[in-house]
């Protein structure tokens, strides 16, 4: 446990500084002197970390928060600097952002869009946050992104995988580092074809909400292009816990692959049920029956326990990637080292993406020389960087989506510990997962970022 930022002297100092009128919220203030919402003062800048702290994704939120705290520490020159050492842009120098010490406030999204917006608004209106980041579901990300666009605040999305975040609901003030459903489909399909053959019949179980739809659409499109056939797809209620009645009909439906377009608790339960019903050991159409989980997360893998053994899925990042695949993924070990030293276990991909987002934002401000959202947007658009654990990465200007390699992973048969549950099967290069900004899955030609908004 480190609490280096909060020596008593530090607190008295910040107290005095804040007393001098720094923490004054300037949201939509009529006399907005700096020309944008919540312009920070000369010594401090406040970031808003809006993560789920209650509800099903609370553990994921906790990991995101750890990463944010680490990022703040590194930005302020504490710790070992983490990815700042490996980041290709050298604008950040450990003296905060543009010479201002980084402070942060936290809030609970409850994984509900109403609560997430309430929390984000309180950060903007009360705490004077200049940037909001976080979230662990796409509904929340889209809702908070729209709010930030309206208020003239930057939004750096956390864990959100639905196409819509940078597809039909993209916004000029919002940026996403995490990958998306389309990329999952594009990355998984070739591996699936190589591993399981091209004449497979797939059965989809899909969580009955937005993210489920986009993921199913992406997987179907890319597997069908490989020659697979989709036998059936059934939507399951989000609140379902026992999936037996959905799993049982799969075996004699003529399918030989089950695709579980589920996330979080849904995925843990549906996969557990599928294994209980013997699907993993079954034979169909003369082949071994296979199960695919498009989006993996470490927490889900931990929750599913031994059931994930041998099951393919995709990830944005994994903490072992640099060790296994070499220096192309530099940054990974630096991050794992400082995260592991501070907290005692390796970071999850949710922690990675939020840490990277915070650094990318800080760097963009530093390069732009201004906190004004439109300046930051300009600095981030088309920004190419490296050394953040994903290899060379591009923040595309057209839709504010990061383009980078996608990992295809498989659940380990004999994991050594609870943090080492997946093995990297393949890394799909960025070219294969890149798509046109007006791709039909991403909202088509209608989708537009709109104008960046500086607020008041």
């Amino acid at each position: 446990m480190s609490k280096s930022n909060f020596t008593r002297r530090g607190v008295i100092k910040t107290g005095a500084v804040a007393g001098a009128g720094l923490a004054v919220p300037q949201y939509l203030r009529a006399d907005g002197h700096a020309g944008f919402t919540n312009a920070p003062g000369d010594s401090e800048v406040v970031l808003g970390f809006n993560v789920p702290q209650s509800g099903p994704y609370a553990d994921e939120g906790a990991d995101e928060l750890r990463a944010y705290e680490l990022a703040v520490e590194h930005l302020n020159g504490g710790g070992d600097g983490g990815m700042l050492q490996t980041f290709s842009s050298k604008a950040l120098d450990g003296t905060g952002i543009l010479g201002r010490e980084v402070k942060y406030v936290t809030g609970d999204t409850q994984t509900k869009s109403d609560a997430a917006r309430a929390s984000a608004r309180s950060m903007i209106e009360k705490d004077g946050a200049i940037m909001i980041t976080g979230g662990s579901s796409s509904g929340v990300a889209v809702a908070v992104q729209a709010l930030c666009q309206e208020a003239g605040i930057m939004f750096m999305a956390g864990l959100t995988h639905s196409n819509d975040t940078t597809g039909k609901d993209r916004k000029a003030n919002g940026f996403r580092h995490f990958f998306n459903s389309y990329m999952t489909g594009a990355a998984l399909a070739p591996v699936l074809a190589a591993q399981y053959g091209t004449d497979r019949k797939a059965y989809h179980l899909t969580a009955d909400y937005n993210w489920g739809y986009t993921t199913e659409e992406a997987i179907r499109a890319s597997t069908e292009a490989m020659g697979w056939e989709t036998v059936n797809s059934v939507k399951t209620p989000l609140t379902q816990t026992d999936f037996s009645s959905y799993i049982a009909p799969v075996l004699n439906s003529g399918a030989d692959v089950l695709v579980l377009n589920h996330y979080g608790g849904n995925m843990i339960n549906s996969l557990t049920n599928a294994v209980q019903f013997g699907l993993r050991d079954a034979q169909a159409n003369g082949k071994n029956f296979e199960i695919v989980v498009p989006l993996y997360s470490e927490l889900m893998a931990r929750g599913a326990g031994a059931n994930i053994a041998g099951i393919l899925g995709s990830q944005n990042w994994d903490w072992k990637i640099e060790n296994q695949l070499g220096a192309k993924y530099a940054g990974t070990n630096a991050f794992v080292q400082s995260f592991g030293t501070k907290y005692g276990f390796p970071p999850s991909q949710a922690a990675h993406t939020t840490y990277v987002q915070t650094l990318l934002y800080a760097d963009a401000v530093q390069r732009a020389g201004s906190f004004a959202p439109c300046a930051v947007v300009e600095a981030l658009e088309g920004f190419e960087f490296d050394g953040m654990g994903n290899g060379p990465t591009l923040y595309r200007a057209d839709d504010h989506q990061c383009f980078k390699d996608v990992l295809v992973v498989r659940g380990k048969e004999n994991p050594e510990n609870e943090f080492d549950l997946v093995e990297i099967v393949e890394v799909t290069p960025v070219d294969q997962v890149t798509y046109a900004p007006d791709h039909p899955q991403m909202g088509g030609a209608d989708a537009s970022l709109g104008e960046c908004n500086n607020g008041a």
């Binding site: 209650s54 509800g55 099903p56 994704y57 609370a58 553990d59 009955d208 059936n232 059934v234 939507k235 399951t236 209620p237 609140t239 816990t241 026992d242 037996s244 009645s245 959905y246 049982a248 009909p249 075996l251 004699n252 439906s253 608790g265 843990i268 339960n269 557990t272 049920n273 209980q276 019903f277 013997g278 050991d281 079954a282 034979q283 169909a284 927490l299 931990r302 929750g303 599913a304 326990g305 031994a306 059931n307 903490w319 072992k320 794992v336 080292q337 592991g340 030293t341 390796p346 943090f419 080492d420």
Partner: protein, 343 residues
């Protein structure tokens, strides 16, 4: 036809979970007249009895293995399980794998005590308070229990597998003359079904054939008169509360391998169990059991692809739709008694 059999089996299994929870709830709710919003929490506590037992049995100490390193390059600390130290590798492994059935032995007394403590410490003072106050206090209690679990175990579901002897599935279709792999049914779900049948039968037998049960039934029908006869009905009600908690608890323990427990599962089941109890009819134990199985089976049918294709979304709402239809055609649910909770 085979698909219908599959869904009947699934429905029976879901139904037995619903019926067990509803049975406990209806004892507290329909007979003691207490709206217990903490009943889902009791179910969850049961499931966490399984988790805790599993954790205790797999308690370990760390031995530093100098030959290997962890992810930061430090020497690896290897977990060594106490049960394996004491009973040998193989026997220790078996004990750890049988955590869930072992948990039943602990869960019954623990949950009865929890029930006693809840009734004596809290609920007792609310028998004569409005239902609204009961809702508030028990909901508060449910939140507190849930948060304690979250604080201790995190929010992520915790996998608590069934013993290896019960993993895998029974090829049920073969007995009925179908081809292999047509109707598969996991062994543990069969266990769950028979287990709940036994518990339900035991509760009924207890109330039907013992003097104690007779007095309790009389007390449910007319508490005051029984009290006037010089029988200490309060004490018996405390016991009934403990019984209800134990029923919810064992339902939870046995459910842990089916759905990995997390701190929110109590709330997930809360609303559903209220619907089951009310559809069954207030104050009726057979009603609660019947409604549990009915709703379980209908829910399974509604999720069949053929049906969802015709009526999209029916799988989302079936339970509530059926509840509405039943309550509109039968004023007091399936077997409700007149005058219970109708005000």
């Amino acid at each position: 036809m085979d698909q219908i059999i599959v869904q009947v089996l699934n429905g029976l299994d879901k139904g037995s979970a619903y019926a067990l929870i509803a049975l406990g709830l209806t004892i507290i709710f329909g007979t003691l007249g207490v709206v217990n919003f903490a009943h889902g929490a009791l179910f969850m506590m049961g499931a966490f009895c399984a988790v805790i037992t599993s954790k205790i049995l797999s308690a370990s100490h760390r031995v530093v293995d100098e030959t290997r390193t962890d992810f930061l390059g430090n020497p690896l600390e290897v977990e060594t399980f106490y049960v394996q130290d004491w009973f040998g590798m193989a026997a220790g492994q078996t004990i750890m794998e049988w955590a869930v059935p072992i948990a039943i032995i602990f869960a019954i007394p623990v949950m009865i005590l929890v029930g006693f403590a809840m009734e004596r410490g809290l609920i007792k003072h609310f028998y004569h308070r409005p239902h609204a106050d009961q809702i508030l206090v028990t909901f508060g209690l449910a939140l507190v229990i849930g948060e304690i679990i979250k604080y201790t175990f995190g929010a992520n579901p915790i996998q608590t597998p069934a013993p290896p002897a019960f993993t895998g599935s029974l090829d049920f279709g073969v007995f009925l003359g179908y081809e292999a792999q047509t109707i598969m049914y996991p062994y543990w779900r069969l266990v769950y079904f028979f287990f709940s049948a036994i518990i339900i039968a035991a509760v009924f037998a207890f109330l039907q054939f013992t003097t104690f049960g007779m007095v309790v039934r009389a007390g449910m029908a007319d508490r005051e008169t029984v009290g006037l006869l010089g029988i200490n009905i309060d004490k018996r009600f405390t016991f009934m509360f403990g019984l209800a908690a134990a029923v919810a608890g064992v339902a939870g323990v046995m459910y842990a391998p089916i759905v990995a427990p997390n701190y929110n599962m109590g709330l997930d089941f809360l609303v559903l169990s209220f619907v089951v109890v009310v559809v069954g009819g207030m104050g009726s134990l057979p009603g609660a059991v019947a409604a549990g199985f009915l709703l379980g089976i209908l829910e399974s049918f509604a999720s069949m692809p053929a049906i969802v294709d015709i009526l999209p979304g029916i799988n989302q709402i079936i339970i509530y739709l059926v509840a509405i239809l039943i309550l509109l055609t039968r004023p007091r649910g399936l077997m409700g008694r007149k005058g219970v909770m109708e005000e």
